[in-house]
């Protein structure tokens, strides 16, 4: 747990403090994202935790121990540190770069070699191919991975990450974020993460701390911040698409309905009567192996007079053969599928089998319900 109490950083000759009497607690095992426009003091705050910058006033404690009690070099050896520019040593191989902190701890050689390979694998890099390369031989995304691997080398309980995925293209960034979140589920580090990108903050943060002009403006879970922005500054920072951003917090499994009308291959001819009997608006067509291969809506069956024969219905259903999402799909992706197939519904799959259905109305209702809380 990291606790900041009334931390202030005043640079001489500056009219306003860079960080102004900041109080913030980062709970064990969570990612706390510091987010705000540039010059808001978020990076300064991060760098005061490992004493790259010394605070002017206030106290910072890690698990109850004041950081000021520790020698700065020793303190930093125990805290993972990732910066946007990565800062790999260009004259050292990837393996040597990752081994820096283990070497400072004087680990035995074999242990270091083992750990380096383990970290490369963990970060999705091939040890055989990567180990003895130099940083200049890697792509931006690979360098970022090495930067993260290097910070985790001695398995520090705390990591400080300053725009760690800022220097790569958006596709690689999304990929790195997803992988890191997956990894974090296992490693459960206490992480302070700095970004200027509210979307990244919403995605990565268990908690978000919104900074403005050296002050903490709002602190809470992404949902709390998106539901009740503390003031106009936060509202503006989040943007007009507040609710759309909120969609990113939810997955299909929170909004779908498990009750669903299923049509076996032989039942397709009397689809409408089965739907009427089950009071269903939509019916999913299954194949011989019970895998869903499309759906029909009651609306179109009641209108469409021509395509009543089984073959025509089969074809109609097959047009939505890809209008399916997983229970773990984020809601915006599900919405995207709906828009792509010009459909009101998507089928929800779990382990390849039909699990339920979700309509546009379900999404709307879910978001509305979460707004009210």
């Amino acid at each position: 747990m990291i606790e900041l109490k009334n931390v202030t950083k005043q640079y001489p000759g500056q009219p306003h403090p860079a960080v102004d009497s900041l109080t913030l607690t980062v709970p064990e095992g969570e990612i706390c994202v510091l987010v705000g426009p540039s010059g808001c003091g978020k990076s300064t705050t991060l760098r005061m935790i490992n004493r790259m910058i010394e605070p002017s006033a206030g106290s910072i404690t890690i698990n109850g121990q004041s950081v000021m009690n520790n020698d700065p070099d020793h303190l930093r050896m125990g805290i993972g540190y990732v910066i946007q520019q990565i800062g790999l040593l260009p004259h050292r191989t990837i393996a040597e770069n990752i081994a820096i902190v283990p070497r400072l701890y004087k680990w035995p050689k074999e242990k270091i070699v083992r750990r380096v390979d383990e970290l490369l694998v963990m970060m999705g890099l091939d040890p055989e191919k990567t180990r003895s390369k130099y940083p200049s031989q890697l792509s931006g995304g690979q360098m970022q991975r090495v930067g993260v691997a290097r910070a985790m080398a001695v398995d520090p309980p705390i990591m400080l990450m300053d725009e760690p995925f800022g220097a790569v293209d958006p596709i690689a960034r999304t990929h790195l974020q997803d992988e890191f979140l997956r990894l974090q589920k296992e490693i459960r580090k206490t992480i302070v993460f700095v970004t200027h990108d509210i979307n990244e903050a919403i995605k990565m943060g268990d908690k978000i701390a919104i900074f403005g002009e050296g002050k903490l403006v709002q602190f809470g879970t992404p949902e709390e911040v998106l539901t009740n922005p503390a003031n106009e500054f936060v509202e503006n920072f989040i943007g007009y698409d507040r609710i759309v951003k909120k969609l990113f917090l939810y997955q299909v499994q929170e909004a779908y309905r498990p009750a669903v009308c299923r049509l076996r291959p032989e039942e397709i001819g009397n689809a409408l009567s089965k739907m009427l009997a089950e009071k269903a608006e939509v019916a999913f067509v299954l194949n011989e192996a019970d895998k869903p291969c499309g759906y029909l809506t009651r609306e179109e069956l009641e209108q469409e007079e021509t395509a009543r024969d089984a073959d025509g219905l089969q074809k109609l259903a097959a047009r939505r053969s890809k209008a399916f999402v997983q229970t773990t799909t984020p809601l915006p992706d599900a919405l995207s599928v709906m828009l792509e197939y010009d459909a009101e519904y998507v089928g929800v799959l779990k382990n390849g089998l039909l699990e339920g259905v979700m309509s546009f109305k379900d999404i709307r209702r879910h978001v509305y319900r979460r707004e009210g809380e």
Binding site: N50, M52, D73, H74, L75, R76, M77, G78, Y81, I83, Q85, I86, G87, L88, L89, P90, H91, R92, T93, I100, V101, L104, Y134, P135, S136, Q137, G147, R150, A151, L160
Partner: protein
């Protein structure tokens, strides 16, 4: 003026070996001392506490470097007397600047991000200097050493004027006695020595440049 093959042979095989050895001795001692003084000075002048003296120090060295080599050697005579010692001192004055300047330039060129990352991982100032800054600055520092060495080899010929010996002896002797054979051997060997040091240090520079940094 008639050249004789016999005198040429005497110059090359009897006089030259000693002159070359003396010249090498002057060069090696001067450059070694210059490195010992300049590199730590350059390092010091890039540390935050002493950075403010950097401009002053470089200006002083620039002035020293602007004095013609001949004048320095001549000035050394009344103060330090005759022999190798005053020659080395005189040459030293002018060999410092390129190394100090390049040490400073090399260290300043090390990316701030790399230093920030190194410090952020808990490397102390000494470790950052020795394991990060120096290796990365080394090619530039070596190039300063190379400039200095080539300079000392050539201006070192003037050291003969204050009785230090070396290849200058053969050149000056040859001129004074109208013996072009001595002149040619002395000047030629001086040129070869310059080229040798230049090439050898260039190779070392290449070898010492970390593969990850080499621009290819």
């Amino acid at each position: 003026m008639k050249m004789s093959w016999e005198r040429f042979q005497i110059a090359l095989f009897e006089k030259a070996p000693e002159a070359v050895l003396t010249h090498l001795l002057i060069v090696v001692i001067t450059v070694a001392l210059a490195i010992l003084i300049s590199v730590p000075l350059g390092v010091l002048l890039t540390r935050p506490r002493y950075r403010k003296f950097g401009v002053v120090a470089l200006n002083i060295l620039n002035i020293l470097n602007a004095i013609p080599g001949m004048a320095v050697i001549a000035l050394a005579l009344p103060i330090l007397g005759l022999g190798i010692k005053p020659a080395v001192v005189a040459l030293l004055f002018q060999s410092l600047l390129p190394i100090v300047r390049n040490t400073i330039a090399g260290l300043l060129e090390v990316s701030a991000d790399v230093k920030e990352a190194a410090a952020g991982m808990g490397m102390n100032q000494r470790q950052i200097l020795l394991e990060v800054e120096m290796p990365l600055a080394m090619p530039i520092i070596l190039s300063g050493i190379r400039t200095s060495t080539v300079y000392v080899v050539s201006v070192g010929t003037l050291a003969a004027l204050i009785g230090a010996g070396g290849l200058g002896n053969m050149i000056i002797g040859g001129l004074a006695l109208f013996m072009p054979e001595y002149l040619i051997v002395g000047a030629g060997l001086g040129a070869i020595m310059s080229i040798f040091f230049d090439r050898a240090l260039s190779y070392l520079e290449y070898k010492i440049t970390p593969p990850g940094v080499r621009a290819n």
